[in-house]
């Protein structure tokens, strides 16, 4: 078994892209069912952690900007670490992530050991 990082991103700044209150309500259940489904397969590798929406970004000139980030466009909505055999299995989990229905995306990364 390997561990995979799943990062969900979506645009929090574009007013047109924001879900309606009904969509959000529906989305909460979808998220809980998605988490429950991963946990039911014993594939949740770490406890869940919530993250705030605002956040801050340090740019290359060390300047700090407050979120949501117009310049970055897509902010991190959250992340989880799951257990999966391979990318295929990890991606299958990601394909059911509710962020996709809100126009977002999921980045999948496999945990690796330092070489040598």
């Amino acid at each position: 078994m390997n561990e995979f990082l799943l990062i969900f991103r979506r645009d929090f700044t574009n007013k047109e892209a924001q879900p309606s209150p009904e969509e959000l309500q529906h989305s909460i259940k979808a998220w809980q069912n998605w988490f429950g489904g991963i946990a039911a397969q014993n594939k949740l590798a770490r406890p869940l952690q919530r993250w705030d929406i605002a956040g801050q970004v340090v740019k290359s000139d060390k300047q700090v900007i407050n979120g949501p980030f117009v310049e970055i466009k897509e902010s991190i909505g959250g992340l989880i670490i799951v257990r999966a055999e391979n990318y295929e299995e990890a991606v299958e989990i990601a394909q059911n992530c509710p962020i996709l229905e809100l126009g977002g995306n999921v980045e999948v990364r496999m945990a690796t050991e330092p070489e040598g």
Partner: protein, 410 residues
Amino acid sequence: MEQHELIPNLFRNEYRKIVCVLCRLFGIAHVETAEDIVSDTFLAATEIWSARGVPENPTAWLYTVAKNKTKNYLKRDSLFQQKLSPELQYQAEKMEEFELDLSIKNIGDSQLAMIFTICNPQISTESQVALALNLLCGFGIQEIADAYLTNKEVIYKRLKRAKDRLKAVNMKIEQPGLTEISLRMDTVLTTLYLLFSEGYYSTAQNTTLRKDFCAEAMRLVYLLADQETTNLPEVNALLSLMCFHVSRFDTRATPEGEAILYGDQDESLWNQELIAQGKYYLGLSASGSRLTKYHLEAGIAYWHTHKADTTEKWQQILQLYNNLLVLEYSPIVALNRMFALAKVEGKVTAIAEAEKLKLTGNHFYYSLLGNLYTDVDDALALQHYKQALLLASSDADQLIISRHIRHLNG
């Protein structure tokens, strides 16, 4: 109550009280001495009562005899005396004034101290449960063996090992301070929860005994809820969970011992008083910031006391199962979640999710698939139930599965 019922109940009740007081007095190293003194007391009671009849106040009679036997033991056995604490030795020297304190307060304090002594991560969970049944609840070795569907020898050895281990780590029997409580409460609750489950889910036929296990587990949790220092939200949550479960105890099986599935239970027989108590403790559990599995399980049990199949009910149960699994994975919870998912999202969605579980060594997994495929694809349902039957080992489980197979074939 008939006399033949009175005596075992009285003995069990008083056994655990006197043993705890004596253990706390002597220290865990002398647990067998404590047990011997109580057994001697009961032996004397059985002999004298059968000749002269049961005294008017049997408890007081037992306490007087236990006090005398303790005093005699301390007086007679100087070797034993030397092993005791200096404080107790000093008391024992002034023997005429020494009296075993069997007041309600000291009994309560001693039992609480013993709960924290026995529910000790340094001994195996299995041993903790056996010791709790024996010393905290007063069940005899035969009764414990009956519940575990095993023989006396196995239980005797398990208890002996557990006691030796407690002696080896020289566990002190004392009132737990706030630090011990915060460090050890999880272990205590796990053991009491298992003790309760032993009664609630055991496949043993002896219903009276199983109910007694549940009642004893609840009594110990009440004891925790009754003390200010141990009256924590998770204690109330566990108590609430137990109340909700026990409210349906009698409706889960026919008088012949055949299981009745939830959907077929007669809700008019559910104990409303216990349901009300469960709600009361659930309310008390809703404080602090820690959400434990007992909170979530109490919530699930609460919704199960609503018989009507509403959308809200199954939505709530599904969310509670989701949270429970995120908190702590368990195959049985994963399987139970699928029943709720089927109610909310329909059987086809649930089948797709259930097949991802791949719990292929578990007969409940195949029973779940059998249930979900029924009316969707009966041939597949039958195939899954047959696989479940191959894997199930207990008579009760095989009976339920066979019933489903008959139903599908009929």
